[in-house]
Symmetry: C2
Subunit: 454 residues, 2 copies
C-alpha cells in the first residue's frame, strides 16, 4: 500500500495524500443508511486539474479503484469507499473561477459549496436555483454527480438543467471538455448530461460551467390543511391543471406533521392528514395565493392560511424545514426518493400508508408535491433486527409501488449502492446493457467508483 | 436491390416500401446547401414500432445504411440519403398518443408536426415552446434529431429541455426506453439527452415524452434602431445584465433590414445598422418594454418603438419573419448557425462584416441575440464557381470566428454533413474519440446514418 502512497506523492504535495487510519475512516461514507463501506487505503486532496490527472494515472497504472467525493452529504452511498480504494476528495478545489452577469454563467471548481455559489450569484442579482436541503454544506460537484434537486425544482428544475459544460478527468488521466459556455449549442452528442447523475462512475468532474438566472422576487407562501391525502393530491392536480407556476409546492403527511408538532410545538392540528405548502415568487403572489387557496378549498382543505409577507412565509416554511429533523427524533430513519407522475401522487401517498401498516412501521412522508417526488421516511429501531429487516423491506415496497405507478426509483438522490438492484428493474435488460456499455467506453478497467449504480 | 425491397416487405405493407426512382429522388435531401446526397435504394414509411424494428433488423442483416428522416427541413444535410441506403421516413408515425394537463406532458410519435403539437397543447391552455422557423412543417422527431431551437429559446430553452423520455429502436432492432414521464428522475445515465441532437446516428426515435408549459400571456414587442452593430450588441448586454427575461430578442443587421425593405416596403430607414426586436410575455410587458427601451436609448438607439398591443407586435415581428425570404431573393443563400457567449455578440457581428468585405460577398445577419446565436446568411451566385467557392470559404471563416470567440459551430441547426470537419475542431481529439466510441456502443456496424456528424 505504501507503493500507492509513494506514487501518489510523486505528483501531489505530501499533505494532500493521507493514509492515517483516523482520516481514512472519516472519509469512508456518505449519509446513506443500509450501505456497505470501508476505510479507503488513502484519501487525496488535489487542488489542481493536473493533480487529479496524476491521481487517475496512478490509479490506472496500479489498477486501484477511485471513489470521488464531495461533502459526502449524499443519500445513496455513491460516495462510500471500499477497502484498498483511493478516496478522491474534491473539497479543496473550491474556487469560483468566473461569474458573468451578461452571459449569466459561472465557472466553478467541483468543491464549491452550493450556498457559496448561491451567495456569489446573489451579489450580482442572480441566483443558482438548485437547492438540495444540504445546500449549506454540499458541493456543486457532488450535486452534479448525484443530479441533485431541491425545493426549487417545481419551477426551476434540477441540477442537470443548469450544467452547460464540464471539464472531466477520465480514468486514464485524459482531460475531456464537454458542452459549451454559450446559451445554446448542439455540436455532437450531449456528453455533459451523461456525467450529470453518473455518480462519479465515468470520470472526475474538475470544472463546470453552470447557468445562472436573474434572482426572483421574494416568495409568498400559503399553507393548507387537508382531511385526507387524497384531497391534498387532488388539490395539487387542480393547481397544476389550472396552469399555475408555483415556486414551491411541498406536502407533509400526518405522521410528519405530528413529529414536527412534537418537536417544535407549531400548533398544527393533529387531525391534519396532509399539510400542503404552496409558494409563488411571481410579480403578484398575493393573487396567485388567493386563486390557489380557492382551489385548495374546493378540493376539501379545512384551513387555508396565506402569508401576508416574507416573514410569515418563512414561519410556514419552518414546518417543512423541521420535517426531517423531527422524524429523526423518532428513531433511525431511512429516506426514500420515489417520483411519480404528479397525477398519481394521491395513490402514492395512500400506498405508502398501506405499506406502513403492512410492515408495522412509522413512515412519514414529505414530498416535493409539485414534482410528484415523494420522500417517504421509514422510522425504525436499528437495534431491533426484525424491525430493521422490515424497514429495509418497506423501503423496497415503496420503490415497487413507485414503478407500478409509472414513476422512478429515484427523483433526485441517485442510485449509489442503495438502489442498484432496483436500477436494473427500472431500466430493463436493454437499458441496463446499453448503460453498462457506455460505462465501459469511459472506464474500460472498471476503476471509477466501482460497484455503484450497477 | 430487389432482395432488400422483398425483405423489407416481409414486415411492412407493400405501399410502405417504395423503390420508384421518382420517390427515392424526392427523399434524397434536406434543405442544406453544399452537401452531397443521392437517391436512396428505397424509402420506407412505417406506421408502428414493430415496423421500424423490422426495417432495422433487415438493415442489420443486410448491412444496409439507414437514414432516418422527418420533414427534411433540416439545414445541415443530416437527413441526406446516399446511394444504396434505406431512407426511413417517420412522417406516417404522426399520432399524439397522450396529452396530460396535470402532468404537463405529451407522448408523441416522431412524425407529429411541431405546430400540430403546439395547437393540441394550446387547446389545454398549454404550450410546447420549441419553435424553429419551419414549425408549420417540421416534425418533433426531426426537432429531437437536430436539437432544434427557435425564437423562444432566450426564455424557454431548446428542444432538449423538453424531452423527458424516449423510445428508440436501436440499429439491431432492440427497443430501448430512456428517461421517464415524471418531472424528475436520476436513475442511471441520461441516455435521453444523448439521442437529442444525435441526428439519427445512434438509433431511431419512435416515441417521445415531452414536457409542456402553461401557455404564456400574449407577447408585447419593441423595435429599436441602432447606428452600429456595436451599439446593438451593447444594448443586448445591458438588457441581460439588468436581469430582464425577454421572451424574444432578435437582431437584424443592415443588409437584412435593406433586403426586407426591398421586399416588403416596411419603411425601415436604410441608415439602420442594426434593428433589435425585444419581446416580453410577462404580467406587465408595458413596464418591461419601457425599461428595455430606456436601456436601448442609453446604448445609442436612434429610435425606439414599443408596440401598444399584440397587433402592433405582430407587425414588428413581420420584419423578422421576412428576413430569410428577403435575403433569398438576393441570390442563392447559405445559412450559418454560430452561437457565441452573448457578451461577445458585438464582436461576432463586426467580424462577420469584415468577412463579408474580405470575401466580397453579401452576408446578412439575423440573430437570436438573447442567446448569442447568430445566423449569418451568405448570399451568392451559385452559377459563378468563384463566388460559390468564396461563399463556402466565408462560411468556414464565420465558424472559425465563432470558435475564436468562445462559441460553438452550431447553436441549433446541427452538424450533419455540412460541418463535420468542423466538429472535430470544436471537440478536440479526446472529445472526438470519446464521441466515436459512444457511437460504436449503439451502432457497432456503422449502419445508422453513416457519414453524418463525424
Amino acid at each position: 500500500m505504501s507503493d500507492l502512497v509513494d506514487q501518489l506523492r510523486e505528483g501531489l504535495p505530501e499533505a494532500a495524500v493521507v493514509a492515517d487510519p483516523d482520516v481514512t475512516a472519516a472519509y469512508q461514507q456518505d449519509m446513506a443508511g443500509f450501505c456497505d463501506s470501508a476505510p479507503p487505503a488513502v484519501v487525496v486532496f488535489p487542488r489542481t486539474v493536473e493533480e487529479v490527472q496524476h491521481v487517475m494515472r496512478t490509479a490506472t497504472r496500479l489498477r486501484v479503484p477511485v471513489v470521488p467525493q464531495g461533502a459526502r452529504t449524499g443519500l445513496s452511498g455513491a460516495a462510500n469507499a471500499s477497502a484498498g480504494a483511493i478516496a478522491l476528495s474534491l473539497l479543496r478545489m473550491d474556487r469560483i473561477l468566473e461569474l458573468d452577469p451578461v452571459d449569466r454563467i459561472a465557472v466553478v471548481e467541483p468543491g464549491v459549496v452550493n450556498a457559496e455559489l448561491s451567495r456569489a450569484a446573489a451579489r450580482h442579482g442572480l441566483s443558482y436555483p438548485p437547492d438540495p436541503s444540504s445546500w449549506e454544506s454540499c458541493t456543486v460537484g457532488g450535486n452534479i454527480g448525484t443530479g441533485a434537486g431541491g425545493l426549487c425544482c417545481v419551477k426551476y428544475g434540477v441540477t442537470a438543467e443548469y450544467v452547460l459544460g464540464l471539464d472531466v478527468v477520465l480514468p486514464d488521466g485524459r482531460l475531456l471538455r464537454t458542452g459549451r459556455r454559450t446559451a445554446k449549442g448542439v455540436a455532437g452528442y450531449d456528453l455533459t448530461r451523461l456525467f450529470v447523475g453518473a455518480e462519479g462512475t465515468l470520470g472526475v468532474v474538475v470544472a463546470a460551467v453552470v447557468a445562472l438566472r436573474p434572482a426572483p422576487p421574494p416568495q409568498l407562501v400559503l399553507a393548507a390543511e387537508f382531511p385526507s391525502t387524497d384531497a391534498a393530491g387532488a388539490a395539487v392536480c387542480a393547481v397544476m391543471a389550472a396552469g399555475h407556476v408555483p415556486s414551491l409546492m411541498e406536502l407533509m403527511d400526518t405522521t410528519t406533521v405530528r413529529a414536527v408538532n412534537a418537536m417544535a410545538q407549531m400548533g398544527l392540528p393533529d387531525s391534519t392528514a396532509a399539510l400542503l405548502l404552496v409558494g409563488f415568487d411571481s410579480l403578484d403572489p398575493t393573487s396567485d395565493l388567493a386563486a390557489v387557496g380557492e382551489l385548495c378549498r374546493e378540493a376539501g382543505a379545512t384551513e387555508v392560511v396565506p402569508a401576508a409577507d416574507s416573514g410569515e412565509s418563512e414561519l410556514l416554511l419552518e414546518a417543512r424545514r423541521l420535517a426531517l429533523p423531527a422524524l429523526d427524533r423518532l428513531g433511525t430513519t431511512m429516506i426514500d426518493d420515489v417520483a411519480v407522475p404528479r397525477s398519481r401522487l394521491g395513490e402514492m401517498l395512500a400506498g405508502v400508508a398501506r405499506i406502513a401498516e403492512e410492515f408495522r412501521l412509522t413512515i412519514g412522508v414529505c414530498a416535493h408535491a409539485g414534482d410528484g417526488n415523494t420522500h417517504p421516511v421509514v422510522v425504525f429501531d436499528a437495534d431491533d433486527a426484525d424491525e430493521s429487516a422490515r424497514a429495509r423491506a418497506s423501503f423496497d415496497a415503496i420503490m415497487a409501488l413507485g414503478l407500478e405507478l409509472g414513476g422512478t426509483i429515484t427523483g433526485e438522490h441517485g442510485v449509489g449502492l442503495l438502489k442498484k438492484e432496483w436500477l436494473a428493474r427500472e431500466l430493463g435488460p436493454v437499458g441496463l446493457e446499453v448503460q453498462r456499455q457506455v460505462k465501459a467506453v469511459f472506464d474500460p478497467l472498471g476503476i471509477m467508483n466501482p460497484g455503484k449504480l450497477f
